[in-house]
Amino acid sequence: MASTVFELMAPNNKIPLSDNARANEVLEVIMAFARQDFGKKVSLKNDDSVLDGIGAGVNMLGEELQHSTISLREKEQLLKEIHHRVKNNMQIISSLLSLQSESTEDQKFIGLIRESRNRINSMALVHEMLYQSDDLSKIELKEYIETLSSSVHRSYALPNSDLEFVYDIEAKVHFNIDKMIPIGLILNEAISNSLKHAFPKGKGKLRVSLKRQKEKYQLLISDDGIGFKKDFDPEKDSHLGIQLIYMLTEQLGGKLVVKSEGGVSYSILF
């Protein structure tokens, strides 16, 4: 039985035994590099042989790989730090807005501050989840939607309410920050609208679903509340929340359909 890869490669075994051992050493070092163990080096005999040349090349390659790996890890750490700081700064802005609202009893002003805080928080959550994820470029939508929904729900803290959130979100759907920010803001607006207007009796259901539709995704946010007022036209209405949903859908390159049948639904195909 052939005992080494090099014997298999050269079945006639014309390689001198010492060269065979050296070739195996080169192979072992390469395999160590593949395991990201860059501490190993090929020993050089300084005999001007081809194997010495290969060994020197492998050693240098290992040094380059080691430094590239370190550099990549440092960059990842830096990116995490940036996401962390962005999130912290957004939270500071949110807290400052909160402090501002404490100085007034004007409910309209307090409501506007709350809306702004929720918008900021929806973006901060993207950054928070990014630095907590293994893949710094993408986050899983399911976890994000559930976390954001409960955060928006808490912010409205409707007393004695009996609201249920129902999720039907495809698992393992990941988006990058360019998609997550508009998706988060859309969710925030749609859920906030439902919580503010759909349930005057404080009871009902909110549904959020995300399904793959061939090459695209369909995000559906709906409630079983009282629906829009009869004369309300979402396309012409100047309410900031709805306008934002239209704008953000455009940003996603998607198509929005808003319906008011047995509650309100926002269907976004993007």
């Binding site: 300084n46 005999d47 001007d48 010495d52 040349g53 020197a56 080691q66």
Partner: protein
């Protein structure tokens, strides 16, 4: 152990731990690695200091005899690539001969990407001829 022909080293050449270094009468600086040596960053910086001392007002080319080198550390290779420093040289001609110097030279050119025009040569005559175009 393999022996290598090294350049004619003049009496006024400066002997460093890893190199012999001098300025040629033709305006081309020369440095010859000591056979069987492992070049570290310390040795590389020592050499650069001497090469830089040849500078008066014009940048000059340098001929490097690397035949007989045993190894060069990552840090030394980075240093010689002159990427992050103001080098007083305007071209490198590297004379290679041994297998290791050949691998090192090619690696240096392909991976470390020196900041000034650099070429590998099998002999000193061709290297000198190429460097003459960089004389001011």
């Amino acid at each position: 152990m393999v022996t290598f022909t090294i350049m004619q080293i003049p009496k006024d050449a400066i002997e460093l731990r890893g190199y012999f270094t001098w300025m040629g009468k033709d305006g081309i600086a020369r440095t010859s690695v000591k056979p069987g040596i492992d070049i570290t960053l310390e040795f590389a910086m020592e050499n650069t200091k001497v090469v830089t001392s040849f500078f008066s007002d014009k940048k000059f080319p340098i001929l490097i005899n690397s035949r007989g080198i045993k190894s060069m550390s990552y840090e030394a290779r980075r240093h010689f690539s002159a990427q992050d420093r103001d080098t007083k040289t305007n071209a490198f001609a590297i004379v290679i001969g041994s297998t290791i110097s050949r691998v090192l030279g090619n690696f240096y050119l392909g991976i470390n990407k020196p900041a000034v025009p650099t070429k590998l040569f099998d002999n000193e005559e061709e290297a000198t001829k190429w460097l003459q175009q960089f004389l001011n």
